[in-house]
């Protein structure tokens, strides 16, 4: 008797259904915190917490107070100015730091990776190993030393923008791995062809390699931007002192100190609003640039 086979399509449909159910559950679990954050930022009721998920009063006041540098007093429940406690100030400082770091770090990472991918020099391997090992030590090990050095140079507190940029950019060439891996996939014969065509090494880099490296440049830009954008540890130390020196992470952390969270205050709601505002640039950047992630640009350069 002939063996009965199940239709291949039916089998596929069945297994797909299972996969989709699992994926849906996972994404719901992942999304709940974000949804909660947005909901809380729109909550009208005062107080630190509620015992229900969806707010009963919807309002944009949290955002408005956040931008106006106002808050509801933790003790009296009146709307008061937050003084030097200015969110937009933190936001601006952090944005400035992140943009500077992005520009500098991207440049450093690209040139380091290109050099390590293309040039052959005696210390190449030892250097790569050294960077790998150094990268294994957590950054905060050097935190105190770094603080005192920067203090000597006068680059803490009010000058902390410069200090933080230096700290973030300082070890950026250690992030060469992924970028070098990408350059390694661009055939060397392209460089060689260009050199025979009369290009100098710089021209090869700028005219041939960079135009082919959009995905990795985008990746480098995104990672370079994200790191200082949400960085707390160094900022809390180097930009310590007056709240006007803080960056968003330090400021936001302060918003949810215990003493701020009373039955009257709107500190938690403003915190959630701030968190939403903070996540905006990265989200926008990602949506703008993500198509380059997918685009394969080396197609056609070599045998395909």
């Amino acid at each position: 008797m002939a063996k009965k086979f199940r239709s291949k399509k039916a089998v596929e449909r069945g297994s797909n259904a299972v996969i989709y159910v699992i994926l849906t559950v996972i994404s719901v679990i992942w999304l709940i915190p974000f949804v909660f954050l947005i909901l809380q930022s729109l909550r009208g009721e005062p107080g630190a917490t509620t015992n229900y998920f969806f707010p009963k009063q919807w309002t944009f006041d949290n955002y408005i107070r956040l931008f106006k540098n106002q808050g509801i007093s933790a003790s009296t429940g009146e709307v008061v100015s937050t003084g030097s406690y200015k969110f937009m100030n933190w936001y601006g400082r952090t944005l400035l730091i992140s943009v500077c770091v992005t520009v500098i770090q991207t440049a450093i990472v690209l040139v380091t990776s290109y050099a390590l991918s293309r040039l052959r020099f005696k210390l190449r391997k030892p250097l790569m190993n050294l960077m790998l090992i150094l990268g294994m030590f957590p950054g905060f090990m050097s935190m105190t030393a770094m603080y005192f050095l920067l203090q000597l140079l006068g680059l803490t507190q009010d000058m902390s923008i410069v200090g933080l940029i230096l700290v973030y950019v300082g070890s950026s060439c250690m992030g060469y791995y992924i970028c070098k891996g990408f350059f390694d996939t661009i055939p060397k014969s392209l460089d060689e062809a260009a050199r025979i065509d009369g290009a100098s090494r710089q021209m090869v880099f700028f005219k041939i390699i960079l135009p082919l490296s959009k995905p990795i440049i985008i990746y480098t830009v995104l990672t370079a931007f994200m790191a200082p954008w949400g960085e707390y540890m160094f900022a809390s130390l180097i930009a310590n002192g007056d709240p006007s020196y803080w960056n968003v992470a330090v400021g936001l952390r302060d918003m949810i100190q215990r003493e701020q969270l009373t039955a009257y205050s709107d500190s938690f709601q403003r915190f959630c609003a701030a968190a939403v505002v903070v996540s905006l640039p990265i989200t926008i950047l990602f949506f703008l640039l993500q198509r380059y992630y997918v685009e394969g640009v080396t197609g056609g350069s070599v045998k395909g």
């Binding site: 014969s189 392209l190 060689e192 062809a193 025979i196 065509d197 009369g198 290009a199 135009p211 056609g300």
Partner: protein, 642 residues
């Protein structure tokens, strides 16, 4: 339009791997040179050294009259086509081709105020190149929208638009399918004819090499095996590797021995019953010491030089029996595979397998036993160990029986005066007479049988006393009266070299040194003493100031500081040593008088060194080498640096 010259080119990688060994070649203008060999043989490395993409460890590369060792690729006036096309993927075909022209600097003049080509000129040249290659309609496309053949055409376009002196092509067709490859092969040949420039082409495909090259360089393991025209490579391979590499199906190789019996030679094939007896006339050029019936040799014979036609079998002196294993019918011809060992199977490559190229119809069936006639005119014989041909086109030595009696050398019924330098007991000897030791103008009568131009040498076949002699040193039109250059002969008695050819080069050991020297320097009209660093060549413990040319080459080849650590070997010819007041101490042992020339035989350390001299030298002398002709070799890696 340029000649290329590669002199003693070496490539040694930092890990000590020698990729290219002593590459010597002169490439004439407009030649189509093909480097061919299995992968890893150094052919691409050599090409990349010519392109300037790879540093030259030692040696001298010139394009035209210019030594280009240290010149950037872009300034060498070359163009290169890569195996993977190496097109710039973000540029259109037009931009790809124009890229080089846009970057090119040209002399400033009225038409080119900024030293660059104008847009119109670039446009005209790109269109012309596109026209030649038939890619005009694709100029607006990106490389990824094109097929492999089209991409390779763009890559060729990018090369020809530069109008280079030399075109370098690195396996340009190996990414294409078979049909396209044949087509592009013809197109590249056409392009060569049209452009009239020198082409250097690298491939591992011997068919490509044979069909395209005017001359072919066969390489293996970094060594040149043979440089010759396709026809000569096919007909006169210098060693077994070349013989087996060139031609399909592969040449048949049989192991065996040869024994001379009077005017016949008895050939016995190993691992088989087969044996044939053939006239000696086929083996005039073979080294006689291989005809002893003991030395193992390898016979090589191409498939088309073996015939199974009854007429050939009937008339041939060399017929062997073989067992058919299988056939490959190719339409117009049939390859019959078999084995001359009746137990063997003709499927695997062995020293008894036989492949025969036959006509269309062959009625042999697997298992049949048949007879095949060997065409001995096309027979190649190789030494089993060295794999060098022992039936070379130009025999290096003539082997004769000779007798020394009363200071005279008797051979072939002739006699020649032995110079005072050669002294040996009277008796029977074997005479080792190099083919360049037989010169014109002497008292020995010879009959010129034939002369043949081989490369830049002429090989004369002579007959003296009924024996065949070969010479390459005769003057044209004067082959009737010959003499022997006694410097070069050797006499062997009972397997022992009693008289050796005079060693033409002396070898010394040493290093390069760096010393601080106080020198007087002119400075602002005053003479001041100044410490300067000078390089010295230590030869056998004696320091000679190193000529800049030599020290510069040593330093660049041996990567700076290591140049002072490495042991060197110096080679001087007997004519390149002079007796001076200071120098390498030597003790004169005797004077070797070769009649026309005299040499002082000196002891330097435990070495014997010959020095050309006219004076009667005695006792302790000092020698200075001629630094113009000296050879400097890095000893442990065996790299010729100067």
């Amino acid at each position: 339009m340029a000649k290329l010259s590669l002199k003693h080119i070496y490539k040694v990688y930092p890990n000590g791997v020698k990729a290219v060994n002593d590459f010597n070649m002169d490439i004439e203008d407009k030649e189509f040179i093909v480097f061919v060999g299995p992968s890893g043989c150094g052919k691409s490395t050599t090409l990349r050294m010519i392109a300037g993409l790879e540093d030259i460890t030692a040696g001298e590369l010139s394009i035209g009259d210019l030594v280009v060792n240290d010149i950037e690729p872009k300034d060498r006036d070359i163009a290169m086509v890569f195996q993977n096309y190496a097109l710039y993927p973000h540029m259109t075909v037009y931009e790809n081709i124009a890229f080089g022209l846009r970057l090119r600097h040209i002399p400033k003049d009225e038409k080119h105020p900024n030293g660059k080509f104008t847009k119109e000129e670039i446009n005209a040249r790109v269109l012309e190149a596109a026209e030649i290659l038939g890619i005009t309609e694709y100029l607006g496309r990106k490389p990824k929208e094109m097929s492999g053949g089209q991409r390779q055409r763009v890559s060729l376009g990018r090369a020809i638009v530069r109008e280079p002196k030399v075109m370098l092509l690195d396996e340009p067709l190996s990414n294409l399918d078979a049909k396209l490859r044949t087509q592009m092969r013809a197109e590249i040949s056409k392009l060569h004819a049209k452009l009239n420039t020198t082409f250097i082409y690298v491939t591992h495909d011997q068919v490509e090499a044979m069909t395209m090259g005017t001359r072919i360089v066969v390489m293996k393991n970094g060594f040149i095996q043979q440089i010759d025209t396709p026809k000569n490579l096919y007909n006169y391979p210098e060693n077994k590797f070349v013989a087996g590499f060139i031609g399909t199906p592969q040449m048949n190789f049989f192991e065996g021995t040869m024994k001379r019996e009077g005017d016949a030679v008895h050939i016995r094939f190993a691992y088989s019953e087969a044996e044939v007896t053939v006239p000696y006339s086929y083996f005039y050029k073979a080294r006689p010491d291989y005809l002893d019936g003991e030395k193992q040799v390898i016979f090589g014979l191409r498939a088309e030089n073996i015939s199974i036609s009854p007429a050939a079998v009937k008339n041939s002196p060399a017929v062997i029996r073989f067992k058919v294993s299988h056939k490959e019918e190719l339409g117009n011809e049939t390859l019959v595979y078999g084995d001359i060992n009746m137990e063997g199977d003709g499927y695997v490559e062995s020293s008894t397998r036989i492949i025969i190229k036959c006509g269309e119809d062959v009625d042999l069936m697997p298992g049949d036993i048949a007879e095949a006639a060997l065409d001995l005119d096309r027979l190649h014989i190789f030494d089993k160990e060295t794999e060098e041909s022992i039936l070379p086109r130009i025999p290096q030595y003539n082997y004769l029986q000779a007798e020394v009696k009363g200071g005279k050398l008797h051979f072939l019924g002739e006699e020649a005066e032995l110079p005072p330098a050669i002294f040996c007991e009277d008796g029977e000897y074997q005479l080792l007479l190099p083919s360049d030791a037989i010169c014109s103008g002497g008292s020995i009568r010879a009959k010129l049988v034939s002369s043949e131009k081989i490369g830049d040498q002429t090989l004369y076949s002579l007959e003296v006393g009924g024996t065949r002699l070969f010479s390459v040193a005769l003057t044209e039109g004067d082959a009737e009266n010959i003499r022997i250059d006694m410097k070069k002969i050797g006499l062997i008695r009972n397997g022992e070299e009693v008289v050796r050819p005079m060693p033409l080069t002396a070898t010394f050991g040493g290093v390069m040194k760096k010393n601080k020297v106080v020198e007087e320097v002119e400075k602002k009209g005053k003479t001041v003493q100044k410490k300067v660093i000078r390089f010295f060549l230590d030869i056998e413990g004696v320091d000679f100031p190193a000529p800049d040319r030599i020290s510069a080459k040593l330093i660049s080849a041996l990567s700076a500081r290591k140049a002072f650590e490495k042991q060197l070997r110096y080679e001087c010819s007997a004519y390149g040593l002079t007796v001076t007041e200071k120098g390498i101490p030597a003790k004169v042992l005797r004077i070797a008088d070769y009649g026309t020339e005299k040499f002082a035989v000196c002891a330097v350390g435990d070495k014997e060194v010959y020095v050309k001299t006219d004076a009667e030298l005695e006792g302790e002398i000092f020698l200075t080498p001629d630094f113009e002709t000296i050879g400097v070799i890095q000893a442990d890696m065996d790299i010729r640096i100067v």
